[in-house]
């Protein structure tokens, strides 16, 4: 993936199976968010092959978008629309029926029930993150991409996000979580991949990244 003269991501070979959750770790600028954007169909890859459920991101972007639920790393919310209006638009464009009970349940679980009809411009960072996860999960996608879902989120929000990940895995969805919070990645995922300088340097069992031993191993991989 190239932006002008800058090669942002190169040599990321990553497979996430059905019912599996993989964590994406790495320093700032390692290429985690770019990888997520390519997988979500927001940024087309400049070279290489990216498939989501067997669909090529470059040639079948709309099909890919139908399969994916994406929580972007930055905001991801229209500032002058309410959470309910976000959910209405998402439900309409994804042809969801009887989605309202599920949407209300998600908003309550993420502590957003009271602000469902206020514009998101007045939301705190944590509230915005929580709503982004709700929007990604609403249509129960086959592939759930969560970019920094725990950033600035309170313990209740973290717990609700963990539940969303567990639910997705239980119904056979593939989950990819990009985060700086190693402990939470270990908790949510079965495997973690570490990116450095736009390339994957390792994929290990999540348990190998746990505790002090894991922290040392992670630091070594970061270089």
């Amino acid at each position: 993936m190239q932006f002008g003269a800058v090669e942002a991501v190169s040599g990321v070979d990553l497979t996430v199976g059905a019912g599996q959750a993989v964590g994406l770790l790495g320093r700032n600028g390692a290429g985690k968010s770019t990888t997520m954007r390519v997988l979500a169909g927001v940024v087309p890859p400049t070279s290489g092959r990216v498939e989501v459920c067997g669909r090529d991101v470059r040639t079948e972007p709309i099909e890919v978008k139908r399969l994916v639920g994406y929580c972007p790393d930055v905001g991801g919310l229209v500032p002058r629309a309410t959470p309910w209006e976000h959910l209405q638009l998402s439900a309409r464009l994804r042809r969801l029926t009887d989605w309202e009970p599920q949407a209300r349940d998600l908003l309550e679980r993420f502590g957003l029930g009271d602000v469902a009809h206020r514009v998101t411009a007045g939301f705190s960072h944590g509230m915005s993150r929580r709503l982004s996860v709700v929007l990604a999960a609403l249509h129960e996608p086959a592939v759930l991409l969560l970019d920094e879902p725990f950033d600035g989120v309170d313990p209740t929000g973290v717990e609700a996000t963990m539940d969303v990940v567990d639910d997705a895995r239980a119904r056979g969805a593939a989950v990819l979580i990009s985060t700086h919070l190693r402990d939470l990645a270990v908790q949510a995922c079965s495997e973690v991949s570490v990116l450095r300088g736009g390339a994957r340097v390792a994929t290990v069992e999540a348990a190998a990244m746990a505790g002090e031993e894991g922290a040392r191993a992670y630091r070594a991989l970061l270089g």
């Binding site: 927001v42 087309p44 972007p61 991801g76 002058r80 629309a81 309910w84 209405q88 464009l93």
Partner: protein
């Protein structure tokens, strides 16, 4: 707590402003900035020199222009006050969120707004008209010309500083208890008073031209300029002590849920309408641009050849509020919107629709207000007014969507003072729009004056076809995922 700024505070404000302007200059495109500044300099010099040495100056022509000078002087005062009030205290040197972490005080903010005020097409065009008219009247006498132009420039400076003073005071009122209602009542009363006394004020200003020597006028204007700048600093400090009420109200109020939209396009249109009408700068700007020319036409009935030109001015002004960087309305939500499984043409069509309905609505309202006291129009003028509305909407729409895709920027529309692009870029956009729409509407008005409805229709069809072709090209470019991803990356930065 004292509100009058001390000399130390002013010195500190000037130093801060210098740093902020340096920062802005470093982050703007240098080549574009140099071209814009050079163009402004050349046109200003031409406006001062060319009319004075124009070969065909005769006494009758000089007298005719001399009669117009008071109206120009008054118009620039009205423009400066109007734009400062509508933009909640003028332009920001640094966007509110970016400035929040720096100790930028209200005096710096005030001085910054004063420095940036000239970077507007309306301000520049009015000033050039005034300088040109002054040079025409003064003639090819270097000393008299320099003194007359110095008076004109000081007048413009005073008008700009007065605009800031009124802008800050109105902002202070607006941020108070029931501020929005108070300001609306105040503005309505002011419009009635000003509307009723325009002739009186114009005659009074006209008397200044009869003064035997311009030096006393220069001295008075210089003192007034300094006093108004200081007064503006005082007013800016008062306004800064109150939190912005409009923005807080829009962000904290509850918007009841509506029934689900019946099509993808309608769903996008609904979301986009919310983004436009819940944005403080857009609401205020549309209100000002629609109602102000209409009120002028109500106070002083305009002939139909002038009324035909008004939609061009209003539509150009409205598209500059957000239409030249239209995707920035979504902010970081653009990333989320790009994940929907729909053809890229659907959100583009929705955005264009919302912009077009706003432009057409503003233009129709202006013509309706203007027509209340105007004479009964001929059929040709009616057709020309309708055609002008459609043609300039097409021009503004195609221009806005083209520029939005070509030079997208991240903008925080939470602040009432936000503009969709940096000041110099805005000057470029506004001059190009004003030239296209004003020349078009003037030609249509002239053809209607000749009773040539057939030519009005024929020209309109050609111009609409040109705009439609440009819109089709915009749609084709928007279908390219690489181009779209660049826009997404820019506006969600």
């Amino acid at each position: 707590m004292p509100t009058a700024p001390s000399s130390a505070e002013w010195r500190s404000a000037v130093a801060d402003l210098r740093h902020l302007l340096w920062f802005r200059a470093r982050t703007s495109r240098r080549r574009t900035a140099r071209i814009a500044i050079a163009t402004i300099g050349v046109v200003t010099a031409a406006a001062v020199i060319a009319p004075a040495w124009w070969p065909d100056r005769d006494a009758a022509a000089v007298a005719r222009v001399e009669g117009l000078v008071p109206a120009y002087l008054l118009a620039i005062v009205a423009l400066c006050i109007g734009s400062a009030v509508a933009s909640g205290g003028g332009r920001e040197v640094l966007a509110r969120d970016a400035a929040a972490v720096h100790p930028v005080g209200p005096f710096t903010d005030h001085l910054g707004a004063l420095v940036l005020a000239p970077l507007s097409a309306a301000w520049l065009l009015q000033t050039w008209c005034l300088l040109g008219a002054t040079a025409w009247v003064a003639g090819p006498h270097p000393l008299a010309l320099v003194l007359a132009e110095a008076v004109a420039l000081l007048w413009v400076g005073c008008a700009t500083a007065l605009g800031q003073v009124v802008g800050w005071w109105v902002e202070w009122l607006r941020r108070g208890t029931r501020g929005v209602v108070v300001v609306r009542a105040f503005m309505a009363a002011a419009a009635l008073v000003v509307g009723g006394s325009v002739t009186l004020a114009r005659d009074a200003i006209g008397q200044l031209g009869g003064l035997p020597h311009p030096l006393p006028v220069l001295a008075v204007l210089l003192v007034a300029l300094v006093a108004l700048v200081i007064l503006g600093g005082h007013a800016a400090r008062l306004a800064a002590r109150r939190p912005p009420r409009d923005e807080a109200h829009l962000e904290s109020r509850s918007y009841p849920a509506r029934r689900a939209a019946r099509s993808d396009l309608r769903a996008f249109v609904r979301l986009d309408r919310g983004s436009v009408w819940r944005s403080v700068p857009v609401r205020r700007g549309v209100g000002f641009l629609t109602i102000a020319p209409g009120l002028v036409a109500l106070a002083h009935p305009l002939p139909w050849d002038t009324l035909v030109v008004l939609p061009g001015l209003v539509v150009s002004g409205c598209v500059l509020l957000f239409g030249v960087n239209i995707w920035a309305l979504d902010g970081r939500g653009m990333l989320w919107r790009e994940t929907f499984p729909v053809a890229p043409s659907v959100p583009l069509l929705a955005r264009g629709w919302v912009l077009a309905e706003l432009l057409l609505g503003a233009g129709v309202l202006t013509i309706l207000l203007g027509s209340i006291r105007a004479e009964r129009p001929t059929a040709a003028y009616l057709v020309a007014a309708a055609a002008a509305l459609v043609v300039v909407t097409g021009q503004a729409l195609s221009g806005g969507l083209r520029w939005s895709a070509r030079a997208p920027q991240a903008v925080d529309y939470r602040s009432a003072r936000a503009t969709p692009a940096p000041p110099l870029t805005m000057v470029g956009y506004s001059v190009r729009l004003a030239l296209a729409t004003t020349s078009t509407t003037m030609v249509l008005g002239a053809l209607a004056g000749l009773g040539r409805t057939d030519l009005v229709v024929a020209l309109s069809v050609i111009l609409v076809a040109v705009s439609a072709t440009r819109l089709v090209m915009v749609e084709r470019r928007w279908a390219d995922p690489q181009r779209r991803s660049r826009v997404v990356a820019a506006v969600s930065a």
